[in-house]
Each structure stands twice: as structure tokens, then as C-alpha cells.
Amino acid sequence: MAPEQPLLISSPRYSDQPYDFSTINITPPATEPPPTSSSSSLHNPNRLLPTTANQSKPHLPPLPRRYSSRRSFNSSQKLSELNESNARFVYINDPTRSNSPYQHPSNSIHTTKYSLLTFLPKNLFEQFHRIAYIYFFILICINQIPQLGVLSPAASILPLAFVLSVTALKDAYEDYRRGLSDRSENSRLASIFSPTSFSFEYKPWNQIRVGELVRVAAEDPHIPCDLVLLCTSDPTGVAYVETINLDGESNLKTRYAKQETLAKPPETLSGSVICCEKPNRNIYGFHANLNDSISLGPANVVLRGCELKNTAWVVGVAVYTGKETKVMLNSSSAPSKRSRLETHMNRETILLAVGLFALCAITTVLGGAWLGRHKGGLDELPYYRKRDFSGKDVGKYEYYGIGWEIVFTFFMAVILFQVLIPIALYISMELVRLGQAFFMIQDDNMFDKERGKRFQCRALNINEDLGQIRYVFSDKTGTLTENKMEFRCASVGGQDYSGGAGAGEEEEGDGVSVIVEGKLCKPKMKVKTDPKLVDVLRNGKGTEEGDRAQNFFLALATCNTIVPIFAETSDPTEKLIDYQGESPDEQALVYAAAAYGFVLVERASGHIVVEVSGQRQRFDILGLHEFDSERKRMSVIVGFPDKTVKIFVKGADSSMFGVMEKTLNAKIIQATELHLKTYSSVGLRTLVIGMREMNRMEFEEWHSSYEKASTALFGRGSLLKAVAANIESNLSILGASGIEDKLQQGVPEAIESLRQAGIKVWVLTGDKQETAISIGYSCKLLTGEMIQIIINSNSKDSCKKSLEEALATTTKLASMPPAAETTATGLGAGRTLALIIDGKSLLYILETELEGELFKVATSCHVVLCCRVAPLQKAGIVALIKKRTDDMTLAIGDGANDVSMIQMADVGIGISGQEGRQAVMASDFAMGQFRFLVPLLLVHGHWNYQRMAYMILYNFYRNSIFVFVLFWYVLYTAFSLTTAITEWSSVLYSVIYTALPTIVIGILDKDLSRKTLLKYPQLYGSGQREERYNLKLFILTMMDSIWQSLAIFFIPYLAYRHSTVDGSSIGDLWTLAVVIMVNIHLGMDVFRWNWVTHVSIWGCIVATFICVIIIDVLPILPGFWAIFHVMATWVFWFCLAAILVAGMVPRFTMKAFSEFFFPRDIQVARELEKFGNINENRVSEVAMSTFSNNQQQSIL
């Protein structure tokens, strides 16, 4: 990637003047450009070159300017005037002046959230964003009121303190690590121009100030802050940067120093002022001017986070520093979403709150009634006595009248029963998700061996959503396909040359090589050539056909923004030419041109060098109109060595045929269109190439308007677009190219699995309809039996009509008797529908009243393919489903154009592939290949959902059983809210006694093995149907917990009635009974006992015994030695055994009955997994079902 020697062959300076036609016509072809004549024009070669780093594929609409839907930045494209209020003035080499009146931040970065001082308040503040914590905090505060002090202050604070401190510790550690990396970053050395000594001196990065001159050299190629380039080691002012840290794209980008600043030593620029926009997040936009006359764009800045490549040094002036650099402004944290399960959990939490209120209300009413009944005798009651003599006067001892007592009782009850809302659940869920994420990351089945990339969990709170997905929205290019473009066939001048693709035996273009600096250079990628076409090129010189072919490949070689880079090989005499560029299509085309003998050797700012069949030729690039989504084409204006000027245009067929000169080339156009259809029907991406020779007048006219447009300070973009549209007309057709985008490994199988799992896969692509359909076939999304409904309309009315027709078809199909089918593929009822809709139609449908109909049609179709859709439409389709159903959606994509869709969907997955990391940055999970979706959803998603669902229910159960035991006791204490269980035990209950097993089970338990889950993808339906967590299960669990609490409370109560038992002893019995019961209950539901499970469950019971014993050996507590006394009696053990058996009988019975007589799929699959299938070979024809199955009905 990084050759040692300079990339560019030294070439004469490019002239600053318009192309001189006078010389063209008079002088014979020369290898040198015309001599520079005096020119007053401000023409700058920089403008001829791409000015933005727009990396989207030419076929697709460009990436959204909006980087994120959450925070939009004002697009600087809409050139608003830079005035005092919204501009920053940077005085070159004058940091003092640049920093007044406003002090700009220093260049030190702090990614740390906290400092030593602010850690506590800030971290607490963040943690208290959880409403549950505020609830518990309020309860702690209430508890501190003397009249309400149910728990001792220490005991009341402990649970929340524990939860908060665990999280705080985690945060502190993460922050510490960030701090370390900050420090090393800040102390790196940069070479800064010192005005006093008049030379560059080394200073640490964090001391760079706005306005200072910074020199970055190849030895330490990291850019310390955002710099406006002033000059570079290259005489033309070019600098190459790699932006992988910024946007993840590994290809080189070119940046330019301005002609005006290039020549002068930078220190002489002192006093010049750069007026630039205020810092913003847009890494592809920059808008400024130098001394009010020279405009500066994004091509003139290098940003922090980039690395200098192939450039010896650059000098720039710091414009944005530290936290104002674009990379820092863009460092967004992982998106925060809330999982479906958690949302549902909140619903149940509210139910529990209602239950809590009910318990408190009951206690209060009964307590009030008791007080009322004993109103007169309260002083006589030895155990109440409200008269207090101990003070000076006879007063009342903490008695404020019945009214207040009732109020106090209520609040005390709230404090006592508060754990009904499980505090530890939140932290447990976090830990469990962490563990689940660990296993997902470690999973070798989701390890991309080719790129060496593991699965990434970027969002930690939606793991369980992966188990409930119903819709998958997939991008095509780079997601289903590899995005490794390969040139396959060409149609030149109405002739189809696709021989290279078919005949594999053909000798490969081995001969193509060029000699650069005495070394043999070969293109890195070999392309099969078509012998006929080679023949035409070789022998057809002079003929129309030959010229056309010649121009076709010249167009391929020139009409792009590719930079050739020479890479070393093992053979010292040989080098590889690596074509670096922003679009893989362009790369493929340039490689193809090279294979046919048009080797792009050099790209400089004003010209390119192409070796045409062994002869090196220099072409001046006089102008370049970038690709944009409206024109859907790009063009270059090329000055040929023979002084002719041609415009080469390439673009999507839809836009290209409109600008062709139809009369002359009618036949060729017709033939080409035919070829295009065949190409796209086999899944090739097509581009149409055209050209036109420009005469002098045309050129001058274009040149002046281009000049005007590109120097314009305002509305530059739209002016340039207009110029381009003007010149790209009346083209003669050269031909078309077909590029293959290979399917990724395992895509058809993955899609089949997902479909069996009941997940609908929708493909949203920017490609043409034919391409999309053919890819649909090749990835088995579409099959021959499917009825295709195609909607591509140009108006709202026709959209409406086709939708209505589609709707009629679907209803007809639905009403058709299923008896009609004869072929039972095992996949279910016969003929299926596929909807193919294009972006244009969607334009008329989305966000109008037709949306509803589209939804109806789309959901009744088995496959939906959307082609030619813009990024925002992708998000719109996701929103369509999200708005109208409760089904979970997942979007998967790899490119910047998928960002909006990824952010819109419930779960966003980024493919870390060829196309940069924007999709990954916006995603919740990132992985290497599409097929990993299968293990991710079917295995991990299933497990995560099952585990988390169970864990939440279990936590509700575990806390409520405890609260109910407390509650029953309160009924026997004159409603005075005494607890027999010591307060320390009740505090430790959710922290120690029962915490670990649920977390371990939540991380480790597997209901089914990976093999079974992959064998029967239908098992995924369990999550979609919310089988493991729903209101019914919640209610059952609560009823179970009430029964068990009754057993726990009343068996000892009845056994110890009329006995000498003291509160502490029976309290210990209850504590142990609850803990053992709760752990056995968990153990009963464990699917797989491995040693970790054993250790955690039995260990927790042992730990409880130890804790209870510790509490009881403290002489200052009333319960001293109680546990030993009570354990010495038989009654204790008999009670314990009776509690456990009586408590478990109903649950165990229910479990056994339902598992046996109403088995869920998971249960059956588990039996199959354990014992094997008894009738492997007669699956289909089973006589069965004496009992109809009610659960299964609901699914259908």
C-alpha cells in the first residue's frame, strides 16, 4: 500500500491557463503541454478534481449528508454566508490573534468522562437516570425519617449502594483506560513553527493552538488536528491521506494545497486570514476562504485521525483543535436502544407497583383498624405504651394520633415491601448481557476468517431482541454480495463481448505490464479478456469499430478518480499496481481497461498517464464532473495528446440514454439496451459509457462557465451540476460494461434458514430491477414457483392502480383452496407471492395514504424486493413495518447508504466489509458476513431471549416470594411491620443469597444445543411468539410465588404455634427456606447442568447458611445463636423438607403435565436432542392428535 518511492513521476508543472486551442490546431502533437502564457485567471487545477470524498457507489444515490438522525448538522453545502457571527477567523502563524477574542480549546483531548473530583457526582447523576434507582433512593430518604425508620440506615442504603458501586467501578475502570490512551495521545510530539526561532520545533500535541503552523512528515504521519493545507512536498500540492480511523475507508484520498499558498514558504503567509465555518461534525464538508478571495473546500483540509501516505511532508495551519476537531465531534457513543423485553418488563413492573400499593394499602387499613380498636388502651398495652416518662415531662412516645400513624404505616410498608420491584434485576440484566456479548464475540461460527474479524457488540442492551426478529431488511451490495466487483463483459458499439466471462480456458491477460522506473508492474487483479475484443483493439485501428473500442477503454481508464499505487512484491524486479479508489465499480473498470492494454500508470492533479498498448500517453484532465444522485453519471473532459478534447461520460443506463444522440446511434443504442437487459438479468451491474468530441467554442464556453461555477462562493454545488448537465448531452454511445458482484458465501442457505425460521427477508437495493431480481434468484430469495407482483409506476394514480391489483391478487390467492397444491415441499402451503417494487413508486407511496395498502400487499407477500431505493426510502420502508406492527425489525447493511435504515430498525447490524465503517458505526452489532446472521439470530438470539426472559420472570418471582413471606408475617404482628427475617438477611437476599445463580443461568443455560437450533430453524418462532415472557406467564409465576410463600410461611407458623420459638429462630428458618426454595426452583428450570451451574446454585445455598450463621454469632444482635438452637431441633429440618416439597408440588406437577401433554416445540426438540428421533423415517405420515393443541392454534 505504501510504496517507498514517490507515487508520482515528476512532471512539469501544470499550467494555470485554459486549454489553448490555438496551439492545438497549429502545433503537432506534443508530449509536453503548451507553455505557460501569462494569464490573469484564477483558474486552479484543484477544482478539476474531485472535491468531496463521497464514497458511495456510482450506481447508488450518494450517502446521506445527514450522518445521524439524532443530531443533524447543518449541511455546509447550502452555502450560507460566512459572516462574523458564524465564522472563525484564523490568522496564519498568529495563534495569539487567532485565539482572541474567543479562546479556542487546546488540542488536548479528553475522552474521559470524569476526573477524580467529578467522578462521584457525575457518575451518580448518570446512573440516576434510571427511574428505578430514583425510586429506591426516595425510599432510602423516607427511611431516614425517624418515625419511618423500618430498616437501620446502613441496611437501607446497602442494596442501592451496592448496585451503584458495582456500576461505578465498571465505569471508573473504563474511564481509567480511556484516560491512559488520552494521555499518550496528548503527549505525542508534533512539529510546530515557532515564530521566535523561525523554525519548526517539537511540541506535544496538546499544546497546538489554532493558527499555528504544523508540519507533518512521513516519519510520524498522524495528523494532530484539523489542518488547512498550505504546502506539501509535492510540487503540485497534492497530499495523500488514509482516513481509516475517521470513516474506516482504507483507500487513499487526495488532498490539495492551494496554488496560491503552495509556492511561498509558509512563514511568509503570516497575517493572512482564513475565514472558516464554525466547527461541525460533517467530515465531508468544509467551507472557508483565504483572505476573502481564495475559497477553500473539504479537499484542502486534512483532519485529525488521518494518516499521511505517499507524501513526504505537509505544512498546514491548525483551524480546529482538540475537541473541536471533526473526528472528536463525530465520536459518538454506541447507540442506546431499549429491548422489547425490557419494555415489556416495565409493563410488569408497573403491575408489581400496583401490587405493592395493594399490599401496603391492606397493611395500612388493617393496621388502622387495629389501632382504632385498641385506641383507648394503647397506654395499657405493654407492647405499645405510648406514654413516655423518660423525658422531663410526660409525653407521648412517637405517637402522633391515629391519622398520622396510618400514614406512617403506609410508608413503612412501602419501605418494607419495596423489593417487590427488583432492584438487583437491573444490574443482573447488565451483567447477563455482558456475558452474552462475550459469548457472541467469542463464537467461532461468527468469526470472519478472511478478514480476521470477530463479531462486535456495540449496543449492550438489546441482545435479547435478536431472538424475536420477524423482518430482516437487507442491503444487497456488500451485504448479500461481496462488493468485490469483477469486470465481466462489455458491449462495445452494439457488439456483445462476453466471451471472457464464459470461456474460462482463455489465457489470462498475463502479458499486460508496464515498466515504471525500471521495474515491471502488473495490475494486482487479473481480468479475463475477450479474445474477440482484444482482436478488435489490436487490428481494428482506423476502423470505426476499433476507434470505438479504443475510446471505450480510454473512457474506462480516464473517467474515474482512481489512484494507482505501486506495491512491492516478493520479486524485487516486479511490482503490483494497486488501483485505489472510492468506488469498487471504478476499480473493476480500471482493472479491465488495464487488462485490455490501457494501463493507468499515474494520476497527478492535472493529468493522468495511461500506457496505451505499450505506449505511454499523457492525458490532461481538464475538468471532472462528479457523480451525483440526480444525474447518476460522471464525466471527465480530457485533453488528448493530439490536442483534441473529448468528454467521457459514464453512468446508469436510465440517465445515460436520455443524453445520447439518438438519431445517429439508434441501432447501437438498441443493441446496447438489449445487452444491458441480458447483463442485468444474470445479476451484473451495468454502466453505460458515452463520449463526445468538443470543439473549441464548446470547450471555451464550458470552460468559462466551469470556472465561474467552481470559484463561486455560494451555491457552488448546484452551479457545477448545471454546468455538467449542460455539457453532458448529445453523446455518442461507446458501449456498456457488465460488472459482477459476487454473492457472499452461504447467502442462499442463510436466507433459506431465516425463511424457515419465520423471518421475512426483504431486500432493499439501489440496483436496477433486473439486477435485483436476478440476485434474488441466485440467492434463492425468489423461486420459479413464485408469483411476482411488480410495481414500477411513474405516477401516483398508476401506483394506486397497481397496488389495488396486487391486493386483489393476494386476496384471490388467500381464498384459493389449499387443495389445489399437489407438491408438498415441506415448506408449507404452495404458491407464494413476491413483491418487487422500485424506488420511484415508493416515492408516491411512502408517507401517503397508499402506505396502508402497500403494507397489506407487502405483508401478504413472502418476499419483498425493493430496487432503486434511496437511503431515506430504505428507512421509510423499515418505518412502514415498525409503525404498523409490533414485529421486531432488523436491518443489515454495509454502506453509508444503509445508515438510516440501520438506525431506524429495532436491531441494526453492520457488515464490516469493503465499504467503510459508517454502517458499523451506526449499528448495534457488527459482523463480517451475511451468513453469520443465522447463528446470530437462530442460536444466540434464541438463547439470549430464552435466558433473559426467564431471568426477568425469575427475578420477579424471587423478590415477590420474599415480600409475600414478609407480608404474611406482618399480619401476625398487629400490622406493625416487624420482620422476623433479620434486616441484614433481607438486604443480602437479593445481593448475595440469590444473585449469582440467576446471572450464571442467564449467561450459560442453553435450552437447546446449537445443532438442534440450526437443524430446526422453526424453533426460532418461540421468541417471535413471545412464548417465554408474556402476561400469562407473569401471572402464573406470581401465583406460584404466592403459593410457595404460603408454604414457606404457614408450615413453620402452624408447626411452631404455641411454642417457645423466638422471632430470630423462626426468622432464620424462613430465610433459609426462602433461599433454598428459590434456588431449587431455579435448579428445576435449568436445562443444562454444568459445573458452573452446580457451583453457583449449591454455592449460594451454602453461602446463605454461612451468612445466617455469621449474623447470628454477633452478640449485639438480638438473634444471637438462634440458628444453632433451631438447627438442633428436628422440627426445623422437618419443616424445611415439608416446605420444599409442598411448595414445589404444584409447579412440578404443572411442568410435568404441560411438558408431557402440551409440549412446545422446544420441549419436543429437547427430547429429540437427548434421546434421538424414534421414527426418523416416517415423519410426514404420522397418525396423530387425539387432543387438539390449543397453543399451536394461536401461532397460526
Binding site: E398, H1058, T1060, W1089, T1149, K1151, A1152, D1161, V1164, N1175
Partner: protein
């Protein structure tokens, strides 16, 4: 639950550890791939029926044994708070109990039904007495009981932490309301010896109540809650207090008064001389005297035995029902055709 440890090492994952460095231990690799060896208990009908039958078969006999044990206990319960009130105070019991001038002595008789073997435990039982009331439970200072007057912070003892501006030892409502009825027993005109030593927990005497802490300023107030303490005996030997301070868990409770260490024959007439000092009349509490023998299971309580028998019977019943349904409507175990999608397709194919 079935535990077949050997049968099933995680059968799942197809992942091969090929691409991993060999230094990573195999165990850790299996852990990261979630393939730790594990046993998968499965509820087969046989297993379920066996479990229920087993539970039933063990619980019923255990229950019967418990019942027998409970039956073997000889217990006499005598409610005396109603008996020991003179006729003319029956309508105004509170006035009677509050009037110090009236003698509270009372004599009652019990005729023993069966022989009672030593040791015979003498309990007093209080009913409707909320010793577990929150205000009551809290009103004590365990540190003061251990360290005596040295320990000053006795605010937890409210409302009885001091009287006449002097701290009270032992402080708090619990001590203040010390039970103070006394009982003596005559049999055949001979006084029975009731051993009142070692009626409290040894752990309490040794570690919870200080042996150099003496009662101080106790019951010196206008409002007297219950028994007084001999100021010359350290708390660690005030066993009545120690017993009383072990706060009962439930509103009807017994507390050990003493132990009669000789056998009593059947049909013997036991004369009880008691002083009915303790006021339970103001809140309708009952006072009972309990004489009981003891066995390995404790005192007389049929509940445990009955609950065991009930649970056992339930288990057997469930086992039978389960077996019956299983015979009538068998579901072939481990049958893939029960997966719902297979059922659906077989339904449509017919």
C-alpha cells in the same frame, strides 16, 4: 430429575478449534463456545411418576411417625387468667389486677390423665400478646444488657430508657413488661420441686447478658409494667428476664418457667399455687399454664404429621392421575412429528 452426567457432553457446536492457537486450553475453548459438558435432566413420564411416588412413599410414613410422636406427648393446658379472678371483680378485671392491695394468690387443681415422665416442662402461655410488635421488639439495648451502665447510648430503649433522669438497667419496653406470675406445685400435699435454673439459652447467659451487670433503677416509675428484679443478682443469672427477652415470634407463645424433674403418676391431683400478677386483662390477652412432657420432636403438635401425610397423599394422587392420563392418552416421547410445523404439514397433506 434425571442426572446422567456421562450421557451428554454438550453435543452442540460444530465449531472446530482449528483456527485457534493451541496454547488456549481446550477447557477454556469449550467454555467460550458454550460447550461445557453438562447433564440435561429430562422429565420423562417414568421419572415424573417415580418422583411423585417416592415423595409420597417417604412422606406418608414420616407423617405417621410424627403424629405418633406428637400423640405420645402428655400435655395439660390450664387457662388461669379467668379462673383466678374473684367473683366480684369478674366484671372489672382491670381494676382487680391494678389494685395492689388485693392479694393475687390463687389455687387451681389439675388431675393428670396419664403418667407424665420427667422432665416435665412448665410453660406459661400468653395469647393475643404481640411480643413481636415493632415498637416492642425495637425497645431494647443489647449492648446495655452486655455492658451495663457503661454503655450510654440507649436511645433505642425508648420509651423506657430512663426514669427520674437516671438510666434504667435493663432498659426498654421488653424488660419493663417482664412477666411476673409465679407458680408452685403441690402433689399429695408435698411441694414439687420446680427447677428454674437453665431454663434460658446458655449462649444468652454466657455472651448476651453481662455477668457484672446489675439491675439499676428498674421499675422505679409511676407506671410499672411487670416484674421487678433482684438488684443483687447480675443479669446473666436473671433467667426469667433472659427467657422473656427472647422475644416470641408469634402472638401466642409459650415461655419456659421451669422443669419438674420427677415423674408424675396418672390420676394424680396437682395443686397449683399461683400469683396472678401480670396484667393481660387490659388488652384481652389470655394466660395459660402448660405442663408437658417432651420427645425428640418437641412438644405436642399434630400439624407436622398431618401436613406430611397430606403432602404424601397428594403426591401419590398426582402420580396416579399422571399415570392414568399417560396410559389413556399416550404421547410418543421424542417424536419429531410433534413439532408444530410437522403437525401442520401432516394436517394439510391429508
Amino acid at each position: 430429575m434425571e442426572m446422567e452426567g456421562a450421557s451428554s457432553s454438550g453435543s452442540g457446536g460444530a465449531a472446530q478449534p482449528t483456527l485457534l492457537p493451541s496454547r488456549r486450553s481446550k477447557v477454556f475453548y469449550r467454555f467460550t463456545q458454550q460447550n461445557l459438558p453438562a447433564c440435561k435432566p429430562a422429565l420423562t413420564p417414568t421419572l415424573v411418576i417415580t418422583i411423585f411416588l417416592l415423595a409420597g412413599i417417604t412422606f406418608v410414613p414420616v407423617g405417621i411417625i410424627c403424629l405418633r410422636a406428637s400423640e405420645s406427648v402428655e400435655e395439660h393446658v390450664l387457662r388461669y387468667d379467668t379462673e383466678c379472678i374473684p367473683e366480684d371483680y369478674r366484671s372489672n378485671r382491670v381494676a382487680y389486677i391494678k389494685d395492689d392491695s388485693i392479694s393475687k394468690k390463687c389455687t387451681l387443681n389439675i388431675k393428670l390423665r396419664n403418667q407424665m415422665k420427667a422432665p416435665i416442662y412448665v410453660y406459661y402461655e400468653l395469647d393475643n400478646y404481640y411480643q413481636n410488635h415493632r415498637r416492642y421488639v425495637k425497645s431494647r439495648s443489647d449492648k446495655q444488657l452486655l455492658y451495663g451502665l457503661q454503655y450510654k447510648d440507649i436511645s433505642s430503649c425508648k420509651p423506657v430508657e430512663s426514669s427520674n433522669r437516671l438510666p434504667v438497667v435493663p432498659c426498654g419496653l421488653i424488660a419493663w413488661s417482664l412477666f411476673n406470675d409465679t407458680f408452685t406445685f403441690d402433689v399429695k400435699a408435698r411441694k414439687l420441686n420446680v427447677n428454674r435454673k437453665n431454663i434460658s439459652w446458655k449462649s444468652d447467659r454466657d455472651h448476651k447478658f453481662g455477668n457484672d451487670v446489675y439491675p439499676f433503677n428498674f421499675q422505679n416509675d409511676t407506671l410499672i409494667g411487670g416484674g421487678k428484679l433482684n438488684q443483687s443478682i447480675p443479669l446473666s443469672e436473671q433467667e426469667d428476664l433472659i427467657v422473656w427477652m427472647r422475644v416470641a415470634a408469634l402472638p401466642n407463645f409459650r415461655k419456659l418457667y421451669g422443669v419438674i424433674e420427677e415423674d408424675l403418676d396418672a390420676d394424680e391431683l396437682l395443686t397449683i399455687h399461683l400469683s396472678n400478677n401480670y396484667n393481660t386483662y387490659s388488652f384481652g390477652g389470655k394466660k395459660k399454664l402448660v405442663l408437658t412432657t417432651s420427645n425428640w420432636l418437641g412438644g405436642k403438635n399434630n400439624f407436622l404429621g398431618l401436613s406430611y401425610i397430606a403432602t404424601g397423599c397428594c403426591s401419590i394422587l398426582v402420580a396416579i392421575i399422571f399415570a392414568l392420563i399417560h396410559v389413556k392418552f399416550p404421547r410418543p416421547h421424542r417424536d419429531a412429528s410433534y413439532l408444530h410445523w410437522n403437525r401442520k404439514s401432516s394436517a394439510t397433506s391429508r
